[in-house]
Symmetry: C2
Subunit: 591 residues, 2 copies
């Protein structure tokens, strides 16, 4: 069975010991009231809520799934009540804007909470994450009237939010979308079109659903420069803020999916639905992009959260399951076999999962911190630095967390042997649930293209070089520390590989239009590995000062990362060096 | 939607052009009647059967699944009729012993047929594969009376066969199994115990199910040396060969699984069921192992077959789906976007799938050929050589095919973007179905241990060295061929890496009891990559003589294998060099 306790010790270690979050929070007015004690209390309560409210509904939610009947969606038993309990206790507003009823907690804390939610019940988590995303977008771009009407109600969980981008023929390529918005005499717009893959597009949690919809104005330029963003509520809102008549938007059906079955994935039909413009006309994509960095980290955390529960469950099973004898002699001589955790191959699997999960958690907190600095800092230089890191590392986090999420969930399932394939044990659900995170919120191929193209090739590799320089500088300052004796050389080598990878990318991109697309995935993986290596070195250094199990564990798992996982970087560079030539040779009809 | 045509051109290329199967067949009395024309006709008919009979039931079988009600199992609609059609046309007896009604076709041909069946409907294929396995075991070890009673009926599909090994507490570790067999006065045995994960343990296809059951005699030595094998029919067989009274074996329930939902995975309760000893007392494991090399290749083919249909489906989708523009300029200027096959990243995915599938197909035919030589050759040296290759490469094929099977199915699903996650498109089923093949028939970790421990460390690396020497000798003989100009150096390098990997394994195994277990998975992957590299070089060399699309395709895809996939070998050796030290450090309670 699945086992999960929120990894609070590791979260506190990362927040306080590694990143000294309290000092940062104290330095910025928006977060000045967040103390270490408050943060720890929030995480502890979050853990209790996830373990007590969300996790118990995870398996039943998967078995039951959502059902659709004539525009009405019914969520699995208990989801509605769980959502309401979360809302009543403020969990739907954790990082919301306090001016409109949000709790104003830093993203650095929110990422840890989001990771927990994905461990406990990723389907249920998605409803709140989409609402959060809609709020971020409204907060940044909507008029004061829209904000004060909608934000407090979504933060409070009375209403929910969605993002409506994809259409049947238009996914990655939003420039060709067809949904239309016709201006009306009263300043509103009549929105018409079909959107698909809308998470939480319809459900039974609360009183209203606020859709943020990409559509084209009648005179819009072609392509992605002609897309505008509209707010379209399921029910129109009366002047007093109460819910009024039904708007022209309905759920046409829901998808039958591999996983996240408790999450309603809806086909939404807009039929002259009344909507309001958010931001400027034809600036819809830009509006969406202000929230993209947050959302992509959140979806990355789906991989991480599922990897964590898969790890904890596999550890529990490996300690309990008796099978075979330790290679060096029986360790459980009174039983008829040893627990499988004695076997090297099982150790390899558990250590791989743990090294990837804890490396990912450190990166998620680091990225949350950069998002907070970029948003709240008064220091222009610090802000610019943080923005650069966010731009560079967000696609890395989204894709690398979720690719590693599938990897760790598959490994966790493997530890269970045949039982891992049986539904009642719960491990196979994690694999199915993790798989979507590599696909949605921009496929991982698109993340790689964003990194390699927009974030690296387009600025001549400056951001990537600045990152490498910062890690080198850090390493130079701590290189004589005994805790880093075994990992200094591998980290230096990895930095050189990343540098060479960037050079390879830039050179090839200069000569070959297909190069960025052809090398991007390997480049992103290389970037992810090197970033984890840096963060593992930072954790090992701090952990060396602790004389406890957490400290010892970090030393050992860190060394494992450098010995067994970082070597993947060698292959990635070699693959990049092959370029696009061979893969572009065959004609489409010769496949 | 899923797309599949049996890859007959590639199969014929491998059989005839690469391995000159006809000459081999002509050289052995048991296969002397198998001509090239006959083999091609068999493959063509097999392809028609798979495409026309098995494939149309694949999605519906997954949606419907098997149901259990009071010991009775109902298979999905159409499965029974499809099985009967397969049986009537001889497909359940393809490589069966002709003395008892089998068709006597070589395994080299059977592996290609099995790959097709796994592409078309892996759940349905499993029923026939388990029956085949039971026949192999009976044919090798049972008395003449048992063989003549049971083999013809199972070959004909009137009856089916199963293998009953696993018990709730005893999977990988069969030494601790508890099922008992008490000798009876009439020479039979009363078998009592519970077996789980029994594929096809109960179903509605035909008149009788013949279980081969591992159990312990009352006086059996402890551990794996005290296991015997018994034949236990569902219905006792009358002297005239007709089906008689019900035996004491019933299906207690079926598992709810991640995939292969059309395959009934049964809990089987034996309650004093009448059985007959197969082979010698306490030699049950040895009896099972005579068929293991066949069965493990067959399960490897599950990964390969699913990878092939995932590839073909992804190619079709990538040609049809319009999204974005080619990096070098529009290639479909009259449409509002280009087909996604123009994008480098999509190419990378398709080429990776194809290179792995075709490399795997070559290895499966090679292994089938070695199994045939080992079984049928009169030449003692050729036989010994083939046996050595079979022992060495069978665990590689099982684990590497199935790990690559999950990889290729996940890639295929990724090509479909969001649609890949939706059940109706069929791609997610391939991922779910492929996942089990890494687990059953000995987990892939166990395969790796078999290779690294039993097949390599235990004979001081002699078989591995002989394999490397053979590839080197082959390469020396063809090294001046222009077709190999670009791949000669990488292949030499890969052989050196494998040699170093073997040396690393042997050295560490000499000093550290945990080493084999800790390094085995990476060693197996290294072995798999190098074997594919050799076979790709052989294919490229032969293909250079062809002036057609297949020939050109082989050159390009082979080059891709060497440029983009073989570099994985670098990392694997580095990982091995890290040894077991770090992973064995933490106490079990510190995870």
């Amino acid at each position: 069975m699945a086992t999960y306790k929120a990894p609070l010790d590791d979260m506190r270690f990362i927040l306080h010991d590694v990143f000294d979050a309290e000092t940062l929070w104290a330095s910025m007015p928006a977060t000045a009231e967040v103390s270490r004690d408050l943060a720890d209390a929030v995480l502890e309560e979050a853990g209790k809520m996830v373990e007590g409210v969300m996790l118990p509904l995870n398996r039943s939610g998967d078995e039951e799934g959502c059902t659709w009947n004539d525009t009405v969606v019914t969520t699995p038993k208990g989801f509605k009540e769980a959502f309401r309990m979360m809302a009543e206790n403020g969990w739907t507003a954790l990082s919301g804007n306090p001016e409109y009823g949000g709790q104003g907690m830093p993203k650095m804390l929110a990422v840890l909470f989001e990771e927990m939610m994905h461990s406990g019940n990723t389907s249920l988590a998605l409803y709140t994450l989409l609402s959060n995303g809609a709020c971020l977008c409204l907060d940044a771009h909507a008029t004061e009237a829209l904000k004060s009407t909608y934000l407090p109600k979504i933060y409070s969980g009375e209403w929910s939010g969605t993002m409506c981008l994809t259409e049947p023929h238009s996914g990655t390529d939003l420039g060709i979308l067809r949904t239309k918005a016709e201006p009306q005499a009263d300043g509103s717009y009549a929105v018409t079109g079909t959107k698909i893959f809308i998470t939480g597009g319809e459900h039974d949690f609360n009183d209203n659903i606020i859709h943020l919809v990409l559509a084209k104005l009648p005179d819009a330029p072609a392509g992605s420069k002609g897309i505008s963003l509209f707010l379209v509520p399921k029910f129109l809102v009366n002047d007093d803020g109460s819910v009024g008549e039904r708007n022209g938007v309905t759920c046409g059906s829901i998808e039958h999916k591999m996983g996240i079955k408790g999450s309603a994935t809806c086909v939404m039909n807009f039929d002259g639905a009344k909507g309001w413009l958010i931001g400027e006309a034809n600036q819809g994509l830009a509006c969406m992009f202000t929230m993209m960095n947050y959302e992509r980290v959140s979806i990355g955390l789906q991989g991480l959260g599922l990897g964590e529960i898969a790890y904890q469950s596999a550890v529990e099973y490996a300690r309990d399951r008796l099978q075979g004898r330790a290679a060096g002699g029986a360790q459980n001589p009174n039983g008829n076999a040893d627990p499988i955790i004695v076997h090297g191959d099982v150790r390899r699997m558990l250590m791989t999962m743990r090294a990837l999960n804890e490396g990912g958690r450190a990166l998620s907190a680091y990225l949350g911190m950069q998002l907070d600095i970029a948003k709240f800092s008064d220091d222009a230089a610090a802000k610019a630095h943080a923005e650069d890191r966010v731009a560079l590392l967000t696609p890395v986090a989204k894709a690398f967390f979720t690719d590693r999420g599938l990897e760790t969930c598959v490994i966790g399932q493997q530890v269970f042997g045949g039982h891992g394939y049986i539904r009642e044990w719960g491990m196979e659900q994690f694999v199915r649930d993790a798989r979507i995170a590599q696909i949605y919120e921009g496929t991982n191929g698109i993340q790689a293209l964003d990194l390699a193209g927009r974030k690296v090739a387009r600025n001549g590799g400056q951001s990537a070089a600045a990152f490498v320089a910062e890690v080198r500088e850090w390493l130079a300052g701590v290189a004589d520390q005994p805790a880093l004796a075994e990992v200094k050389a591998p980290l230096e080598n990895a930095l050189a590989l990343l540098e060479e990878g960037t050079a390879t990318l830039l050179t090839q991109a200069g000569n070959d239009p297909d190069a960025v697309n052809a090398l991007a995935v390997e480049y992103l993986d290389l970037f992810g590995l090197v970033t984890y290596a840096w963060l593992w070195a930072r954790m090992m250094l701090v952990a060396a000062g602790r004389d406890d199990k957490l400290g010892q564990g970090k030393q050992v798992v860190g060394r494992f990362f450098f010995e067994r996982l970082l070597p993947r970087a060698e292959t990635l560079l070699k693959q990049m060096q092959a370029g696009s030539r061979t893969m572009m040779t065959l004609a489409a009809e010769d496949f």
